[in-house]
Symmetry: C2
Subunit: 511 residues, 2 copies
């Protein structure tokens, strides 16, 4: 009896520490959101200091001796990451996740964290310069430093098989590199075979009308309309503009997204909006009882990306979706789309073409961009590839996977910001998102057989209800792998995504 009271008290106290950490994280998210949307230019230096101060406060609270003692008194440790058996599912998940973060924080020496923050701040600027001048040698020495620090991080965190494991684990908890390689190996082969058939088909898809004049205010109005229709609640969020679209959570009733509009290319704005809308619906769908705990979060980047990509591609680039939205779109842009019929529009927004830039790639070839980066990252981490040799290695991989070679490093090895931020291990989660999205959607279709009919009439309630119940509401309670099995009855299987692509593109390309 006495023991139970102590346990309950310790758990409550740990939850209180966590609740404060969540609030501080939300405050920090507001600072970042403001920085990307409305902050005046000159404030950038002060804002960095404000963010660093919050980071320091959070770090101190997380790694405080009190948190460690509470975990100890709750019986949580390396071999018992969820503590006593007396706890219920949510409590065990809470302890598992708290301990996971606690370990990651306490295992990294402050010197290493500070040095990484310093070097990535410098590297981001140098990367931007290198890309602007298309000169990899400007960025190389900084990437060298980041790589060395990243390897140190991997050693501090520890691993059994590969030093890439603890890096991947930051974004895709509990996933292993070897498992990922196994998933991707088969996938890559099938994907390249499909792309080859598409590229060699005789069908040429007209996309010129997507590159007409699209007034950005009207695009915004249309974006708001689509978000409202799919179920995004504007009393709990906003849509704004930023250089790079993102979604951020400032509280369980405040999940905001951004997009960007291209006046001369329709796809950028709307699919950016729907993609981020998918992220936002996930966060807004998390159960209220998890509010203000670290379980009120996406369970992995891959699962998060499955939600954004399901809405963007599987739903948002489907024929039923545009059966509903195309008339409204056409009336908003009569000059650009007046002569375009629904099927031509549907084909145009799904045109497949190997290209150089990841963020502009179609949903099929996109995955090759990810495999390219995953391959290079692993070789960098294993020591098999030196930073100075990356441009050459990039171009080789690009030729072998996509059949094209960038004319310069700006459109090649320098195109993404991620490595300058020290985010090695992040890229694979984008493709995991695609794979999970198709597997989840297959399960959804089995539960809701007439879903196309609902989409055609603009009714997304059933979809959203299903997603909330199955995927959103548990937040971080189930790790990605367990969630996948609970929702679909099996572990991650890339065949679902391949089947989805085969069905969709055999029709579009007549292959």
């Amino acid at each position: 009896m006495r023991m139970e009271i102590t346990l309950a008290k310790s758990l409550d106290r740990l939850k209180k520490i966590d609740a404060e950490l969540q609030k501080l994280a939300h405050i920090s998210a507001l600072l970042s959101w403001d920085q990307e949307t409305f902050m005046p230019d000159e404030a950038v230096g002060e804002r960095a200091e404000q963010l660093a101060l919050l980071e320091g406060i959070m770090h101190d609270r997380f790694t405080s001796s009190e948190a460690g003692e509470l975990l100890g008194s709750l019986g949580v440790g390396k071999d018992t990451p969820t503590g006593s058996d007396d706890f219920n599912d949510n409590e065990r998940a809470f302890l598992r996740e708290f301990y996971r973060r606690y370990r990651r924080k306490t295992q990294l020496p402050r010197r290493l964290v500070t040095e990484m923050a310093r070097q990535t701040a410098i590297a981001r600027k140098e990367w931007a310069k290198a890309r602007a001048e298309s000169n990899f040698s400007i960025f190389a020495p900084h990437l060298d430093k980041i790589l060395a620090l990243t390897l140190e991080v991997a050693e501090c965190l520890g691993y059994e098989d590969s030093p890439y494991d603890p890096l991947l684990d930051e974004y895709e908890p509990w996933m292993k590199t070897s498992k990922l390689e196994e998933i991707f190996r088969n996938f890559q082969e099938k994907l390249m075979e499909l792309i080859s058939r598409i590229v060699n088909s005789e069908k040429r898809i007209d996309t010129h009308f997507l590159m007409q004049e699209y007034d950005t205010n009207v695009q915004r109005d249309f974006s708001l309309h689509v978000l409202k229709t799919i179920g995004y609640d504007f009393s709990k969020g906003r849509l704004d503009v930023s250089a790079h679209p993102f979604t951020t959570t400032l509280g369980c009733s405040d999940v905001r997204l951004t997009t960007r509009y291209n006046r001369n290319y329709f796809n950028t704005g709307i699919f950016g909006t729907i993609h981020e809308g998918g992220h936002a619906l996930y966060e807004l769908g998390i159960s209220a009882e998890l509010q203000d705990t670290l379980l009120a979060d996406g369970t992995s980047m891959g699962i998060h990306e499955s939600q954004s990509r399901m809405w963007e591609n599987i739903i948002g680039r489907s024929l039923p979706f545009w059966k509903h939205f195309f008339p409204g779109l056409k009336s908003r842009f009569p000059e650009a789309l007046g002569d375009v019929d629904l099927v031509s529009f549907y084909r145009a927004i799904n045109a497949v073409q190997p290209s150089l830039i990841r963020v502009e790639a179609d949903e099929v070839t996109y995955n090759l961009h990810i495999l390219l980066r995953f391959n290079l990252e692993k070789r960098l981490i294993s020591g098999d590839l030196k930073v100075k040799d990356m441009p050459e290695a990039w171009n080789e991989e690009c030729r072998s996977l996509l059949g094209i070679v960038p004319p310069n490093d700006a459109d090649g090895v320098l195109q993404d910001i991620h490595w300058s931020m020290g985010s090695i291990g992040y890229f694979p989660t984008y493709s995991l998102g695609n794979l999970y999205s198709a597997q989840f959607f297959k399960a959804l279709e089995q539960d809701l057989p007439d879903i196309d009919g609902s989409i055609e009439i603009g009714d997304f309630q059933e979809i959203l209800k299903w997603l909330r119940q199955k995927i959103h509401s548990p937040g971080r309670v189930y790790p990605a792998g367990e969630l996948c099995e609970r929702v679909t009855g099996e572990s991650l299987n890339p065949d679902y995504f391949m089947d989805y692509l085969e069905n969709k593109y055999s029709d579009i390309y007549g292959i």
Copy 2:
């Protein structure tokens, strides 16, 4: 030698604590700014908790034993509020202000602070309800509680003469009630005499064209134009819309203001903008060497208000100002102003008329609204007036000062939010601002004899340079009274404001 090193170290450490407190205050300001401008509705509860968390962190850091020990080691105490004589002016001011806040924080028991926060949160809602229903009895029990807590605050903080002193001191540091009464006594008499002459003059001023249709987007465009012209730097700030205009400091390079536009009344938007612009120019003009210290702030609410009111009224409602801006305004609103000439416009925006609502009052009668509130507040604090008798007392004072009586409590005793927030002692600073503004402007005119000529051609550089050098740059280094003597050579003297009004309105009303 050893002593000096210890002193320097202690001072550095105290400055570091202060710098963190300033950053936390700026973070808190962002949360509040966002709440008033862009935050989605449903987030209000979570935002309150985030603000409370930051408040708690700041309170703990301020009142930590470390801060107390450092103050002690620096020789700072009740009788030596600026510590050792070895410190320079800025250091002494820093210690004086830190100690001042430290004392105010540590003298109030946590229970009292928490209870005040709780009661004012409730009272704000009940006040809104009472005002909507024009029923003072809804608000009365809550104001009773706030008054009791306020009296407790006054006792905890201590005073020599009047319990109103420590309340006033929160907003107007070092000012005493008796001194304020002395200033206001003479002022009230002269002001009422002037108003009587204006009201009894035969001149009737046409203001109907100010109440035409003024498109709010065009108003916004004009507001941006005026702010840029008077020297507000948009790389360090923004102009947005909120229900009640305000200015807030998120950093020394991030001072944002808001206004509100009334589609059918021109004055609201533009004078709100210029008023807040005056506040913002003050904060942006504070010397960079004070950055991230508590000296980087307006030295009192009265001085702050002197800057907003100088720009709004003395400059922004002057004939030279509109000689420059009226042509651009007319071209923006040809329908409303096409037939209006400059002098008619100038007279209209300066029309004087005793009225019921403070925030809509002209610059002359405005001060009677303040005197009314100051009189009632003093009587409340002295115990001479009971809360339940306030409506009657309000109406009596209103009749005696303004010659009119509100038809209901919504337009009378319930019109302002301040008391529901526990802000007793705040109102007098509005009139202090008017008095200071005229005294400062007189000194400015002596240094810059052709200032009207500069304003007429839209050149505000000299004014801003003068204000920065004399008033803005020292921030909080000099208390209001000392600043006034440094800038004008004498202590606060209401005659300057009366002279300004006499000159301006004898011309406008031919009296």
